[in-house]
C-alpha cells in the first residue's frame, strides 16, 4: 500500500482549566485525503464484500420486500469492482450460501457477477431470524482476508427472534474488529435498538429503508462507499497520563457511536479504539479525560492521540498522524470559561441522540410527560445545531410550538416508519454551522 492516503489529525479544545479543574474535552478530527482511493480496477487495498439478505418468511409480507432486496443485492454485486472477493449469503434461522455454493469468497468478474445475480433471483423466503448465525458465516468467509478492507451489508426486516440476545452478543464480540457491517432494516417490524447494537459493534451504520423501492439506491451507495476504502483497520491510539482516567472516546461525526467499550490495550498507558476502514473522508471523535488538578500555570499533555494501523502481534504499529490534547490550569476566568465551539457543538449532538432515544422510549412506555420533555429538548438542540435532518424527523413525531425554547406537543398519530426514522436519524450529526471559521487552537510555544 504505497499510495496510502495522507491522514491528518486535528485537535479542537480549550486547554485552559480553572484551578481545581479536572475534565478535559477535545474534538479529534481525522481526515484522509489523496492516496489511491479506489475508483477503478487498480485499487490500493484488497477488498472483500459479503452481502447478507434476510430470507425469513416475513420478507414475503409484502412480497415487494424480498423482490426489492434481491434487486438491491444485484445492484450491489454490479457495483463491486473487478477482483473484489465477494459472496452472497441468505439468512433465516441459519445462514446459507447463495453464491458461491461453497463457504468461500470468489473474485468479482463478469461471470461471477452474472452467476450471483442468477442465484439471487431464485431466492425464496421462509423461516425465522437469527442474525448472529448470519454474521458468524460472514466472519468465516472473511477470515482469510484479514489484511484487506472487509465490509458486509446486512439487510433484515424483523426482530432477532430465533436466537437469544446472549448468542448475538457473543457473535458480536467475536466479530468486532474482524469486519465492518452496515445494517439496514426494511419495513417497520425490526427493532432499531437491536440493529444499532450490531452496527455499532461492527463500526457500521444503521438505517431504515421504509420503502423497499429505495433499497437499490441505498445498496449501491453502501457498496460504492465500501469500494472507496483504501486502508483497513485504522485505530485511534489514546495515551493518557498515569494518573488520568479516560472517561470516553466517541465518534461524533458522521454519527454518534461510543467506542469506549472497544478499547484494546496497546502500549503502556495507551489503548486502541478501532475506527474501521478509511477512504477519502473525515470523521470527528470526542474524547474526555479526567486528570488530577494541577497548579496554576502547569501544563499537561492530557492525552496523546495517534492514528495508527496496528501491527501484527509483536510488531510496531504504523503511526499515520498524531495530536496532543492539553490541559493548562489558569486563574484567568476569561480563558478557563471559554467553551470551544466544536466541543460544545458535538456535546450538544450527543445529547440530542440521547434525548431522542429516551423520548421515543418514554413515548412507547406511555410516559408522555417525559417523552414531551425529551423530544422538546431534542427540537431545541437540533435547532441550535442546525441539524435539519433531525429537525425534519422530529416534526413528524411532535408539533413544534417554539423551537427556541423546545416547546412541543406529541402528535396523536405517528406513522411507525416516522418514529423509526427519527430513531435511526438521531445519531446522525452535522458539522458545526460555520465549521470553516472554527480556528484550530495551537498549543502555545
Amino acid at each position: 500500500m504505497s499510495d496510502q492516503p495522507q491522514f491528518t489529525v486535528k485537535i479542537d479544545q480549550n486547554k485552559y482549566l480553572p484551578e481545581g479543574g479536572r475534565e478535559v474535552h477535545a474534538i479529534v478530527s481525522v481526515e484522509s485525503a489523496g492516496g489511491a482511493v479506489a475508483s477503478g480496477a487498480s485499487a490500493g487495498a484488497q477488498a472483500a464484500e459479503v452481502i447478507i439478505i434476510d430470507t425469513s418468511g416475513s420478507m414475503t409480507y409484502p412480497d415487494t420486500k424480498l423482490r426489492s432486496a434481491i434487486a438491491a443485492a444485484q445492484t450491489a454485486v454490479d457495483t463491486l469492482r473487478d477482483g473484489v472477493m465477494f459472496a452472497v449469503v441468505s439468512g433465516s434461522n441459519s445462514a446459507r450460501m447463495v453464491f458461491p455454493q461453497q463457504a468461500m469468497l470468489v473474485p468479482a468478474n463478469d461471470r461471477n457477477r452474472t452467476a450471483a445475480k442468477a442465484e439471487l433471483k431464485r431466492l425464496t423466503a421462509q423461516g425465522g431470524t437469527a442474525i448472529g448465525s448470519w454474521l458468524r458465516l460472514a466472519d468465516q468467509l472473511f477470515d482469510p482476508y484479514q489484511d484487506g478492507v472487509r465490509h458486509a451489508i446486512l439487510l433484515t426486516d424483523g426482530k432477532n427472534q430465533h436466537e437469544s440476545p446472549e448468542e448475538l452478543d457473543a457473535v458480536l464480540f467475536r466479530c468486532a474488529g474482524r469486519f465492518v457491517c452496515d445494517c439496514r432494516g426494511v419495513g417497520t417490524d425490526w427493532e432499531v435498538a437491536e440493529l444499532r447494537k450490531v452496527a455499532n459493534a461492527l463500526l457500521g451504520t444503521v438505517d431504515i429503508v421504509a420503502d423497499p423501492a429505495d433499497l437499490v439506491a441505498d445498496f449501491r451507495a453502501m457498496t460504492e462507499a465500501a469500494m472507496g476504502k483504501a486502508v483497513a483497520d485504522v485505530a485511534l491510539r489514546v495515551w493518557t497520563p498515569q494518573t488520568a482516567r479516560l472517561k470516553f472516546v466517541k465518534q461524533v461525526m458522521p454519527n454518534v457511536a461510543d467506542l469506549s467499550a472497544m478499547r484494546a490495550e496497546a502500549a503502556p498507558q495507551a489503548g486502541d479504539y478501532p475506527l474501521g476502514a478509511w477512504g477519502a473522508e473525515s470523521r470527528d471523535y470526542q474524547i474526555c479525560v479526567e486528570v488530577p488538578p494541577g497548579e496554576v500555570g502547569k501544563e499537561l499533555r492530557a492525552a496523546w492521540v495517534k492514528l495508527v494501523v496496528p501491527g501484527a502481534p509483536g510488531q510496531e504499529a504504523q503511526v499515520l498522524a498524531t495530536g496532543n490534547v492539553l490541559a493548562q490550569w489558569t486563574d484567568d476566568e476569561a480563558l478557563s470559561t471559554k467553551i470551544n465551539a466544536r466541543v460544545a457543538h458535538y456535546t450538544g449532538q450527543s445529547e440530542l441522540a440521547d434525548v431522542i432515544q429516551e423520548g421515543l422510549a418514554a413515548r412507547r412506555d406511555g410516559d408522555l410527560d417525559t417523552a414531551t420533555a425529551r423530544l422538546g429538548r431534542a427540537v431545541k438542540l437540533a435547532d441550535e445545531a442546525g441539524n435539519e435532518a433531525v429537525t425534519a424527523a422530529l416534526r413528524k413525531v411532535v408539533d413544534v410550538l417554539d423551537p427556541v425554547t423546545g416547546t412541543v406537543r406529541l402528535k396523536a398519530n405517528v406513522e411507525k416508519a416516522d418514529e423509526m426514522s427519527l430513531d435511526t436519524t438521531s445519531t446522525k450529526t452535522v458539522r458545526t454551522r460555520k465549521d470553516e471559521t472554527v480556528r484550530t487552537r495551537r498549543s502555545e510555544v
Binding site: Q269, V296, L300, R301, D331, D332, V445
Partner: protein
C-alpha cells in the same frame, strides 16, 4: 516579561497621565497586551527542577588568565590578551560569544536559539521518571517540561570568584520574556538583564537581542580599554540598534527594558533604561535597620528632567558615588518613579496604582533616541551586586527586603551565587510569580582602592 504599556507622559500628573503613544503603542492602548491575558505556565517547583535540568555547557568553569598556555604564541598578534577559553585554553577576545577554536560558549545566559531540548531520556520535573519525549512531555505523567528559557541557571567562574544568573518564567505567563547575559571581561564581569515589554510584539526577541548584544559590547569595549561608563553607553546604543532592527514597522516594534552592571577594580558601573534594577547588598548589613538606607534614592530632578526630554539631564553621571550599606543603584524610568519624584504620590501609593508599572523609557524602534542613565560606585565593603527584572523586585522592592531574604535563608552569595539567585527566584515564585523573574548575582570583594584607603 514586563507587562506594561509603553506610554507617554502628559506631564500633568493625574490619573490619565499615561496615554498610549499614538504612533508607536496604539496596540497597547487597551491595557491588555498579548501578555496581559496570557495564562501562567510556570513551574511551581522550578527551583527543584533546575537542579536536574541545568543546561549543560553553560557552567563555565572559568576564564583563565592567558599567557600560560599553548596560545602564548598568538599573544604577540593580539593586544594584551587577558582571557583564554576555559575549555581549550586558546586565547579569546573579550566579548566573543564563542571560542573560535573549540566552539565553547563564552558568554553565558543564552539558552541557544530556541531549539528544543535533546529528546534523550531526561527526567521529568514532575514525576521524576526518565520518560521525557521529543516534544517535551513526560510519557508517564504527561507534564510539559520547562523549555530552555522557562528556567535557566548559569554560573560562571571568574578571577574574582563565581557569579551566577537565574531566570524563570514565573507562574502566570506562558513564556519567559526576560533575558540575561553574563560576560567576563579583562578585569571583571558584565551582567545584563532585559525584560521584554509585554505589550510589544515578540518581546522575547527584543530582550534576547539586547542582552546578548550589550554583554558582548561591554566585554569587547572593556577589553579595548574603555572606561566602564563609556562601555555601558556604547552597549546600550548597540543594543538599542539591535532591538530596533527587529521591528517590522514602528507600529510593531519589539521592545524591552535594559539594565547592565559592570564590575572591575575601580568599582561598579550600572546603566539602565526602563524599570529593571540593580541593587547593592552589603555583606555587613546585619541589622534590618539597613532598610532605612534604602529610601530617598530617587534623584528627582534628574528623573523629572529625563521625562521632559531635557538632553542635558542624562549626561552628568561622571560622578562616582561611594557604596556602603545596601541600597538600590538605579531609578526606574517609570510612571511610579515619576510620580514619586514629582512629589505627587508616596512610593507606596505609586506602587499600588494601576499605572505603577508603566515604563517611560525602553529599547525599541518606537523608543526614539535612547539615553541610558549611567552611574558608577565604589564599594567600601564587600557585598553583592544584584541585577534583576521587576518579576523579583515587585515582591521585594527595597534593598533591605532583598538582603533579608538572603539573610533569612542563610545564603552566601560569594560562595554560592547560584544558590543565592535561586533563593531570590524561589521567593518571588512563592510570593505569586506573576511575572518572569530574572536575577544576576555578582559578589564583590572590597575593591582594592578601598582597601588601600583603609
Amino acid at each position: 516579561m514586563n507587562g506594561n504599556e509603553n506610554g507617554d507622559m502628559d506631564g500633568e500628573g493625574n490619573d490619565t497621565a499615561v496615554e498610549a503613544n499614538e504612533t508607536a503603542a496604539n496596540g497597547s492602548a487597551t491595557g491588555e497586551g498579548p501578555g496581559g491575558t496570557r495564562p501562567g505556565a510556570g513551574q511551581a517547583n522550578a527551583g527543584d527542577a533546575a537542579a536536574r535540568m541545568e543546561p549543560t555547557g553553560m557552567d563555565a568553569t572559568g576564564m583563565n588568565p592567558a599567557g600560560m598556555n599553548a596560545a602564548g604564541m598568538e599573544q604577540s598578534a593580539v593586544k594584551p590578551a587577558e582571557l583564554a577559553c576555559p575549555q581549550c585554553g586558546v586565547v579569546v577576545y573579550p566579548g566573543e560569544a564563542f571560542c573560535e577554536n573549540c566552539g565553547r560558549q563564552l558568554i553565558a545566559g543564552r539558552p541557544g536559539n530556541g531549539a528544543p531540548r535533546p529528546s534523550g531520556r531526561t527526567r521529568c520535573v514532575g514525576c521524576g521518571e526518565a520518560a521525557v519525549d521529543g516534544e517535551g512531555y513526560c510519557e508517564h505523567c504527561g507534564m510539559k517540561q520547562p523549555a530552555d528559557r522557562d528556567h535557566l541557571e548559569v554560573e560562571l567562574a571568574t578571577p574574582g570568584g563565581p557569579v551566577a544568573g537565574v531566570s524563570d518564567r514565573g507562574k502566570r505567563y506562558a513564556r519567559n520574556e526576560d533575558a540575561f547575559a553574563i560576560a567576563p571581561h579583562n578585569t571583571g564581569v558584565a551582567a545584563v538583564v532585559c525584560d521584554g515589554v509585554g505589550s510589544s510584539p515578540r518581546p522575547e526577541t527584543a530582550s534576547r537581542a539586547a542582552a546578548d548584544t550589550a554583554a558582548t559590547e561591554i566585554a569587547t569595549a572593556m577589553g579595548a580599554g574603555a572606561a566602564p561608563g563609556d562601555a555601558v553607553r556604547m552597549a546600550v546604543r548597540k543594543a538599542a540598534t539591535a532591538v530596533a532592527g527587529l521591528a517590522e514597522s514602528p507600529e510593531a516594534a519589539p521592545s524591552c527594558t535594559f539594565v547592565a552592571a559592570v564590575t572591575g577594580p575601580d568599582g561598579v558601573t550600572v546603566g539602565w533604561v526602563g524599570d529593571s534594577r540593580a541593587y547593592w547588598l552589603s555583606e555587613t548589613d546585619t541589622s534590618p535597620a539597613a532598610d532605612l538606607a534604602d529610601t530617598g534614592e530617587l534623584n528627582s530632578s534628574a528623573v523629572t528632567a529625563d521625562l521632559r526630554g531635557d538632553p542635558n539631564a542624562t549626561s552628568p553621571d561622571a560622578e562616582t558615588l561611594p557604596l556602603g550599606p545596601s541600597r538600590r543603584l538605579t531609578d526606574d524610568d517609570s510612571w511610579a518613579a515619576f510620580m514619586v519624584a514629582s512629589g505627587a504620590l508616596t512610593e507606596a501609593e505609586a506602587e499600588a496604582h494601576p499605572n505603577a508599572h508603566v515604563i517611560t523609557a525602553w529599547l525599541g524602534a518606537d523608543a526614539g533616541e535612547v539615553r541610558p542613565h549611567v552611574r558608577s560606585f565604589v564599594p567600601d565593603r564587600p557585598g553583592t551586586l544584584l541585577v534583576c527584572s521587576d518579576g523579583l523586585w515587585n515582591y521585594f522592592p527595597g534593598a533591605g527586603d532583598l538582603a533579608a531574604v538572603l539573610r533569612n535563608a542563610q545564603a552566601d552569595p560569594a560562595a554560592d551565587p547560584t544558590g543565592a539567585a535561586r533563593i531570590l527566584v524561589r521567593h518571588a515564585l512563592d510570593a505569586g510569580g506573576r511575572d518572569n523573574i530574572t536575577v544576576a548575582v555578582l559578589p564583590m570583594a572590597a575593591t582594592p582602592s578601598t582597601e588601600q584607603a583603609r
